[in-house]
Chain length 239, copies 2
């Protein structure tokens, strides 16, 4: 006889899940929800592609997040990145070699440090000790704050930063389940988890009607990942 255990009993722990609405963070949330009550956290940091924020809201709802908070932050105040500064163009049609060379202009200064700091703040309020972030150090476009050594250092800092950690009531864990996966591996995992790919959004430079350009680094990495995984990407690319 198989006993039906109510969902609320199995998942007694809470996790804060950083969610951009892209493929990686959505897959990360789909994984986290198997073990945790998830509190999805997104940032409105003056992205040119507000389509991303709508995708985050759709994904959080579809994956049953307990709450979804959208925090407005002011990275634009500090300056230059193609993702936040209107005057810079998003690079297109770059090869894997070009993407791997140095750090792209789509880099946002100290972004993951800021995102994780906010996640830590919410985790403390929720009395949660688990934070999920969908970083990926393989097909990672050269962002320094996606690497395992950065995550480990932040986790150490977090355990010195909070009341609960100082009082020995908890130990903060930064979960990075995708960190060692290639994009194709993430696509396969997401497919296994039953993620609805039409909800996600990856493009750095979508068309006015919200369709992905198909030519920026993020679109190219995504397309390559789906192709290598042998999974059909249902998104309506412009090209």
């Amino acid at each position: 006889m198989r006993v039906q255990v109510p969902d609320s009993f199995v998942k007694s722990r809470k996790a804060v899940c950083l969610l951009s609405g892209g493929l990686d963070s959505s897959t990360c949330l789909a994984l986290a929800r198997r073990e945790f009550h998830c509190y999805a956290l997104s940032f409105d940091y003056g992205q040119r592609h507000r389509v991303e924020l709508e995708a985050a809201a759709r994904v959080a709802h579809a994956l049953g997040a307990k709450e979804h908070r959208m925090v407005k932050i002011d990275l634009r105040a500090f300056g230059a990145s193609a993702l936040t500064a209107d005057e810079l163009a998003v690079p297109k049609h770059r090869s894997a070699e070009e993407m791997a060379e140095g750090i792209p202009i789509t880099y946002v200064p100290a972004r993951n440090t800021i995102f994780l700091a906010y996640a830590l703040s919410w985790a403390e309020v929720l009395e949660s000790s688990d934070i999920f972030i969908g970083v990926n150090a393989i097909d990672y476009s050269g962002y320094p704050d996606c690497r395992p050594e950065f995550i480990a250092a932040f986790e150490h800092t977090a355990n010195l930063a909070t009341k609960a950690a100082v009082e020995g009531r908890t130990r903060i864990k930064i979960h990075t389940p995708l960190i060692a996966l290639r994009k194709a591996g993430i696509v396969k995992l997401a497919a296994e988890l039953g993620l609805d790919f039409t909800l996600t959004h990856s493009c750095y430079d979508p068309s006015p009607d919200g369709r992905p350009c198909g030519q920026c680094d993020s679109c190219l990495l995504r397309k390559k990942g789906f192709a290598e995984a042998g999974v059909r990407d249902p998104l309506p690319y412009c090209s």
Copy 2:
């Protein structure tokens, strides 16, 4: 013969200085400006005492900061602290022993982690490798993110987080010149540096006309510091 060296020649380096407008961060800025071009950074995080933000602007101007940025952040979204939540009362008339017991309700979750993350972001844009924060681990009211081990961990994280650090062009240094000083020592240092104490603001719960209450933890610590230093505090306390 004494050669007059222009200020702009001596101070070629930039530093980001976290500035609340309180005694500690103002003293910290007064120290930093002797060696650096200072970029003062303050946060509007839904403080009940907006007087603090006005003090920060006055101090930044008076101490010749190159720029003063006020970043609006959304800590109120996450929850409870007497400094941000309207329904909680600021504790008054507490003894040093009571203040030392545990972490006060005026604690804001992960505040210094968030502040330093923003400072790091701005430092990267400015191509600065120096950040000043006026934390103090002695008379520190029990905040975990004011301790030297927290600062050291954040500095390590910062050096793994940024493009410039990864490319070996810089090494981020978090300066905490007040960390080992008692409040009386900070008052003496500030007096030596010629800080105009009337510009600063320390109270957690000022009167409607902006006068310090004289009874909250912060006022009590400040008064005690001035008394022990033998320096007159010019602020018009309510009591």
